[in-house]
Symmetry: C2
Subunit: 418 residues, 2 copies
């Protein structure tokens, strides 16, 4: 059984690699036409997708509300999936772009050219829209894709995949251009992660446990889309009204996402002026506050934060608060306790802003803005495949360009090495 | 013992991370002054390095000539190490460069800024010059470095490291900015590879066994510097004189390096005209030829190649030869049997050249030039840390720029997300 599984998955990956070479030479217009047909096919098959989704939902009775909500599709969610595919079709084709061009003293003319990566595997949980979003982005970047979704959404994923794969095959593209691993065996992921001869990149999207499992057993390069413990630091020279707006937005506007603020740091010289009003506003919005001793002295109703709180991604209406001595302490705290995702300083001091931007070791560092802007669309990159918390290859919002690599093409006229 | 080792190495990595944040804010002039002092210190301590090197060499009696040659230092090799450090000092500081800058509709101004990676670990074999080359490049890119060399060169590595570390500490930089793991325990590598909370990147440089070991057990992102099975394809429309020069240079000028040609492909329509003269020239230079059946028919004295030959990196005066039907067959052969390192086509056809450049899935693809040019210096990048055969983050020659990452710095005026 186990041996069969290995053999099957190896064949899938092999075929994906062969297909990726065909896909790599497909012109942009042909790719865009397929993406538009994919969008139409999703809309035309809405009923079929919803009925598959119902099977998944009824098998998940007893799970909590957030879980069910993530899993559930609707007409409007399917419409969103189709719209995303159309948006990806409109994005500029990244492949073939000449990133840089120069001539060296030997007379060789060197181009650094953007190219597809090859085969990308994505391992994800619950949300079935990830299936079509990832297929669309990988297809546009001309990468073959191998998807492995969670068992809880298998029926929904299969329905979406089959609809999209029919479009791909109908366009004359080879089997293996897009792939969904639908075996129920749990160990399929571990087998997949050893196929580094065929798969070039694996992107895990999900909880800590999934990410750790992938990192621990993968021989394939991994780009992690990990947690967001994001901070807003209110500097001694902050405009306190602006700080209030930014902190409120970063925490409350959508608390369940990775770019929401989980921890608020306040310079001690403004704590007594800033915190009472700010914390009252949070209280009115049902935000639970877990603060340091100084926070608690200023607002007695708050809870005392533990060390663990400052390392927690709540994804909920809970906020840890800490009063700090200095900008240096704020930076040190963020680098130590944060997740290197998105952090913001509110300040009118140019000097403090520049120091914060330089020394905070995070993917996105803000001055006078909410951390909630960390997003491919908000950054003007179009749809994103996720937000990388890694430093290699892609950092921060990961969109089409980050789904490519490069090669050097070198033009000579008979040069040999001396 | 094992627990002690883990604890010790974790402390090294932790300290390296803390030091990397100090190094990241050091101005270019200060870094360059340290690099110049490092070069002087190597020259001033030549005798000390040579005497340590003698200990390593005498412990390696019985090893083959190539092994001993790699290990052996001399006045001129130490001078080269010093010169490399001076060259790195003269290179432009990559950190802080604004890669791109744009404004989005929310009014946020976004900069994509080049930054150091953080902590880089390098695991390597035999050549002691790697110790100073890697320290120099990582230092200039403002990364802390953790080196783990082979036990056969431990005395040489330690001597070089101690001399350079004295310069680093003398400049007021923290302990942990540069590090050499000198424990003899073999398992140190495995322990190191689990420290993904502190180490951002690991680069293995060495044979297949070392690379596989690192890939199989690392939780840290790896950039491999793997083998080079490089091809030259002589097209039906090649200038055959040029082809002769290029093939000869690619094979013979320095056969022991990764960008040398290991396999020569020849279009069948020119095989009868090209091969007899070319193979005679190779024979005169003591190159052993392992060819396909057609090759053997043209030159009876050649050996018959096995399937394995076409997958072999000889690093020696041995060449596999294959006559192919078409450009498509040549491309398919290279993508299947090659190592995605460097491949060249010799042709006068613009169309064939462009097809080859586009479809060969290798880091460096050449038209009418020797594969031997794949090298950071030849590409005008300055000193290289190696040649990546991976596709993620760095592909091909990996120099200063590839030892950096980026972050987004975002300037707002109070923006919150709608």
């Amino acid at each position: 059984m186990r041996k069969d599984l290995s053999k099957n998955l190896e064949n899938v990956a092999k075929l994906a690699q062969i297909s990726s070479r065909k896909l790599a030479i497909l012109p942009a217009e042909a790719k865009n036409a397929v993406l538009e047909d994919m969008a139409s096919a999703l809309l035309a098959n809405t009923e079929r997708i919803l009925s598959a989704n119902k099977k998944d939902i009824s098998a998940c009775k007893g799970k909590n509300k957030v879980f069910i909500d993530r899993l559930t599709l609707s007409d409007s969610r399917i419409k969103q999936m189709a719209d995303s595919l159309l948006e990806v079709a409109r994005l500029k084709d990244p492949a073939g772009e000449i990133i840089r061009s120069w001539e060296v003293s030997s007379g060789l003319k060197i181009n650094k050219v953007r190219t597809p990566i090859g085969v990308v595997a994505i391992i994800y949980e619950s949300r079935p829209n990830v299936t079509s979003d990832c297929i669309g982005l990988c297809f546009k970047a001309a990468n073959s894709v191998i998807l492995r979704g969670g068992s809880e959404s298998l029926n929904s994923n299969l329905a979406i995949f089959n609809i999209l794969n029919k479009v791909v095959l109908g366009a004359g593209l080879p089997k293996g251009t897009i792939n969904l691993i639908d075996t129920v065996e749990h160990e399929a992921v571990d087998v997949l992660l050893k196929l580094n001869n065929y798969i070039d990149l694996v992107i895990p999207r999900g909880g800590e446990q999934l990410i750790n499992r992938v990192v621990n057993s993968s021989r394939i390069p991994v780009i992690k889309h990990y947690k967001g413990i994001c901070h807003v630091y209110v500097d001694e020279q902050a405009d306190l009204n602006m700080a209030e707006n930014i902190c409120f937005n970063a925490k409350v506007q959508r608390p369940g996402v990775c770019n929401a603020m989980e921890s608020m740091l306040v310079h001690r010289d403004v704590a007594a002026r800033f915190l009472p009003g700010m914390l009252k506003i949070f209280k009115e919005s049902q935000v639970e506050i877990r603060g340091c001793a100084l926070t608690k002295r200023i607002a007695k109703w708050t809870k005392l934060a533990s060390e663990k709180d400052y390392r927690s991604e709540y994804l909920d209406l809970i906020l840890s608060v800490k009063v700090v001595d200095s900008l240096d302490s704020a930076i040190a705290h963020i680098n130590e306790y944060g997740s290197h995702h998105s952090d913001s300083i509110v300040t009118d001091s140019h000097e403090s802003a520049e120091k914060f931007l330089k020394e905070v070791d995070s993917a996105c560092v803000y001055v006078n803005a909410s951390t909630r802007f960390t997003d491919g669309n908000q950054f003007g990159m179009g749809a994103e495949i996720g937000i990388s918390t890694d430093k290699l290859h892609a950092r921060g919002p990961m969109a089409l360009e980050e789904l490519t690599t490069y090669k050097y093409t070198v033009y000579g006229s008979g040069q040999v090495r001396q």
